[in-house]
């Protein structure tokens, strides 16, 4: 087990942290510019990229057992289904 255990380099963590800060400043800057209906879409996309970085590197998902990826996919899929079904109801009411 330990031989396979993938150690992430310290420098990788620093780079991920710097990217997270960069994405934060981008999202704050973009929020100041009026982009109409795209504002929310862009903000959520950046949040999604940031969470992908945190989940993959900080939470080691990228290098861990596949079962944890399955858990994550399952909870993500559950959320998406709940959101889609609810909005079908709200929009076409």
């Amino acid at each position: 087990m330990d031989k396979q255990h993938h150690k992430i380099e310290i420098s990788t963590y620093i780079i991920v942290w710097l990217s997270l800060l960069a994405f934060t400043s981008i999202t704050v800057t973009i929020a100041g510019i009026s982009l109409g209906k795209y504002t929310l879409l862009i903000a959520l996309s950046i949040a999604a990229i940031k969470s992908a970085l945190v989940i993959n590197i900080f939470m080691h998902i990228k290098f861990d057992e596949p079962i944890f990826k399955a858990f994550l996919a399952l909870s993500g899929a559950t959320l998406i289904i709940i959101f889609v079904l609810t909005f079908f109801d709200i929009i076409y009411r």
């Binding site: 087990m1 150690k7 992430i8 310290i10 963590y13 620093i14 991920v16 942290w17 997270l20 800060l21 934060t24 999202t27 704050v28 929020a31 100041g32 009026s34 504002t39 929310l40 903000a43 959520l44 950046i46 949040a47 940031k50 969470s51 945190v54 989940i55 590197i57 900080f58 939470m59 861990d64 057992e65 079962i67 944890f68 858990f71 994550l72 399952l74 909870s75 993500g76 559950t78 959320l79 709940i82 959101f83 609810t86 909005f87 709200i90």
Partner: protein, 210 residues
């Protein structure tokens, strides 16, 4: 774990630890947390769709600067958490202790900021069921209601995180967490990163609506 690995573990006088099982339990717990917050994000999404104008007006009153500072603090605390685990992995106990202490410190600073942010809102008479708030259109009441519940529940998670991480600090100092067995620290780290993840979404949804 196969039989051979078990034998090796025993001959080395190490207590057998099921690392995958321990982590699996944590991920299952995080799954329930995602659904807990997911339900709240759903309520937010529906009301933002129905009252988008009022949500925009109400959100203008939130302090973007303090929100951004808290984002930077939480992201940095996630880094120090990851570094604490990385250093115990490399058998550098004192560095691990240093970065875990920094994580707890950053979490405390986050809460102090939250305190100032909330008390400023209270001073302006904006808090659940306040007269000032109840006289406003329902979209704004909903926005601030969700703001207090969601950032409040998140704040509660930060408080729990501080308590859990403080225990981990004691375990590290007492050598209960070592480079051989740091599952506890890893699992606490996962919890802490989840707190960060939730904030990554709370931040644009509450502070960055223009």
């Amino acid at each position: 774990m196969n039989h051979d690995e078990n034998v090796i573990a025993m001959t080395q006088h190490h207590a057998h630890v099921d690392k995958v099982g321990a982590k699996m339990g944590m991920w299952l717990f995080l799954f329930t947390e995602v659904l807990l917050f997911g339900g709240m994000f759903l309520v937010y999404a529906v009301y933002r769709y129905q009252y988008s104008e009022q949500f925009h007006i109400a959100a203008m009153e939130l302090n973007t600067t303090i929100g951004t500072i808290n984002t930077i603090i939480l992201l940095t605390s996630s880094l120090t958490m990851a570094l604490s685990i990385a250093y115990i992995e490399r058998n550098k106990k004192s560095l691990s202790i240093l970065f875990l202490s920094l994580t707890i410190l950053l979490a405390l600073i986050f809460l102090v900021n939250k305190y100032f942010e909330w008390s400023a809102k209270f001073e302006h008479g904006i808090y659940p069921r306040s007269e000032e708030l109840l006289n406003r259109p329902s979209g704004q009441i909903l926005f601030f209601g969700l703001y207090y519940v969601m950032t409040g529940l998140h704040g509660l998670h930060v408080v729990i995180g501080i308590i859990v991480l403080s225990f981990m600090l004691v375990f590290l100092l007492k050598n209960k967490i070592t480079s051989e067995n740091y599952n506890k620290l890893e699992n606490s780290g996962l919890y802490w990163h989840l707190v960060d993840l939730i904030w990554i979404f709370l931040f644009p949804l509450f502070y960055l609506i223009q």
